[in-house]
Subunit: 180 residues, 2 copies
């Protein structure tokens, strides 16, 4: 089945601080037209970071859309034209105070493919050295150390729900983790 | 550290077919005010469905925000007030033609917690029986059967990037999968 949709027209309906919103008119594979509501968002990076003690850095942040504090691995938006791996080094140190001497690319994920173009690049980091945490103005988060077993328990209890963190773990298991 | 942000004001800036966009003013934990751009979106369900031959149902769909055909497990938006498990049964049959006699809840995921309130409920299905596919008007997708090994290879090759699908797999490995 031919699947491709072609852009006929694009209209920006909102220009914001962290996202822009477009309503595009498209031609469907069946020849009819439809509209697509698309959030345009910058790239971001997320880091699964392993400490020398074997535990992983996990954060808790209040996330306004859910009115809830949630568990997440360290992450942040790429600055304009910033390489996502550089973002990974930078955000890990800013948010947790740990500098990584080794970061490996795991894969990329598409958060919600129907309406946003955001791509989050996922990394694994180790050889961490403690430096200084330096949060952005207004940024508030708590940092924890969890073993892999504790993280798997959070998943079993449906208490780790952040997509980028779950995806980073899935790539880690597919590409890096060795069971002893 | 106190993390909670309090809503001071909420302004709807766009009302669409599949999403609404709000710009809210919030009081931060440090007492200052800031704004939050929030996409409000309906709930959705995603299904990791295992066939009697041991393979899993995988789809390829053109996703306009990425201008790309991507791999995904069957999924769809919940109708108004529809129970997400009912959505899972309905969407699986509509998109793939398979009726499940057993669906198990895996967990829920938050696609991009900084700016959308969408929740995608993840399910595992088996005991599948072939019925009729009946796609929505304008919906175009191809359905494939992949072994778990083939799916893990897609991940290793960075070719399975859809967040809900990767998260469903991660919950499946944490809660259901037994390594013989």
């Amino acid at each position: 089945m031919d699947l491709k949709e072609e852009k006929i027209e694009s209209k920006e309906v909102f220009k914001g601080k962290i996202l822009n919103l477009f309503v595009d008119t498209v031609k469907l594979p069946n020849g009819k037209t439809s509209t697509r509501e698309v959030v345009r968002h910058c790239k971001a990076s997320c880091i699964l970071a392993k400490l020398p003690n074997g535990k992983f850095l996990l954060e808790k942040q209040f996330r306004y859309p859910y009115n809830e504090e949630i568990y997440e691995f360290p992450a942040g938006k790429c600055d304009l034209d910033e390489d996502p791996m550089k973002t990974a080094y930078r955000e890990l140190e800013e948010e947790t105070g740990y500098q990584a001497n080794n970061i490996v690319y795991l894969g990329k994920m598409y958060p919600s493919c129907a309406y946003t173009d955001e791509i989050i690049y996922l990394y694994y980091a180790d050889s961490l050295v403690k430096k200084e945490q330096h949060l952005d103005e207004g940024e508030a988060l708590n940092v924890y150390e969890y073993s892999l077993e504790e993280i798997m328990n959070l998943i079993k209890l449906d208490k780790l729900n952040d997509a980028k963190s779950l995806c980073a773990l899935q790539f880690y298991f597919a590409k890096i983790y060795k069971n002893n």
